[in-house]
Symmetry: C3
Subunit: 135 residues, 3 copies
């Protein structure tokens, strides 16, 4: 088992940031062949998701769709004014569980891992834990 | 490894119930330093989520947003009339994976764990499993 | 630990396919009493979810609700035209973590596991990993 943290500086209010390279490097740096990497986002206005990384328009369309689903002009009470970000955080989810085989992250052909900023820009971090399979 | 169940009595039709204290006590009662707690909700009209616990208005706004996203007056076919609850259950998700370090639950500063009641009031329960890290 | 893949042929554009029987057989075929089964969907226009399996109208209503939430006529940019499927994939989530006790999958009374096709029909597959509890 090993664990750590990855710092992420977001630059926009709404943003999907591809962190696959960083996670892949962390996994490749472990001396394990097979296991699981768990990612956990400790923020309440951000999330983690896996989606298409080939066309940046998919990321743009996901944020466009979320903004349509959770419009800012609903009758929200939370005084900070970022209730849509809290709702989007629920929709995205705050953790990911990804398999490791042959020492590498096992994603689908088009899949990339994204940190979801819903109330940026901010200094963020996510936590990871890698668990080797018991044989 | 240890496992168990937590009973939850909900009191409203739509409700986010903070169960962080209960989960924290379960984790603190284990003789493990580092690991993972898995939570699983066995109901199809409820869910589990992590979000802000400081301002009750965030919980109110999340339920307000979900009710906007999944209005009750769509052309639903399910005869029990609780299709919005089944959809909200999908949106929230039915499990959570949270890290344990130094014998304690590792949540972000503002994060609390919520049981999401979408079709209450009812007698509910969730299941937990704590897995110590293999060293 | 054991791992594998399950092939799924979808037959409609939007479809929730009950794969509980297949996962249950995989779990029952392992020589473990207690543990966790992790399921991972490697596609970016599909997902995995757990919901009611008793009334097919629930599945129909979930897809109806998702189509209401993510209408196809938003101003999407992604040229493939399947942005709603990418958004629904995010909403459903791409992995599931389910407990195993007494050698069997532990689902709630009404719960079944569904592969969510959001851009079919296609040939799909999901990956599974079963981890026995360390005692």
């Amino acid at each position: 088992m090993s664990a750590g943290q990855l710092k992420i500086a977001t630059t926009a209010h709404l943003e999907l940031i591809n962190i696959t390279g960083e996670i892949d490097r962390i996994v490749a740096g472990q001396a394990i062949s097979s296991g699981i990497v768990h990612l956990f986002n400790p923020h309440t206005t951000a999330g983690l998701t896996i989606n298409d990384g080939a066309d940046p328009d998919v990321r743009r369309d996901i944020l466009h769709g979320l903004t349509h689903m959770v419009p800012g002009n609903l009758n929200f009470h939370h005084a900070e004014g970022n209730s849509p970000a809290h709702i989007m955080a629920m929709l995205a989810g705050c953790s990911l569980t990804i398999f490791i085989d042959n020492g590498r992250l096992q994603l689908g052909t088009w899949q990339k891992i994204f940190f979801c900023e819903f109330d940026g820009p901010r200094s963020r971090s996510i936590r990871w834990k890698i668990v080797a399979d018991n044989q």
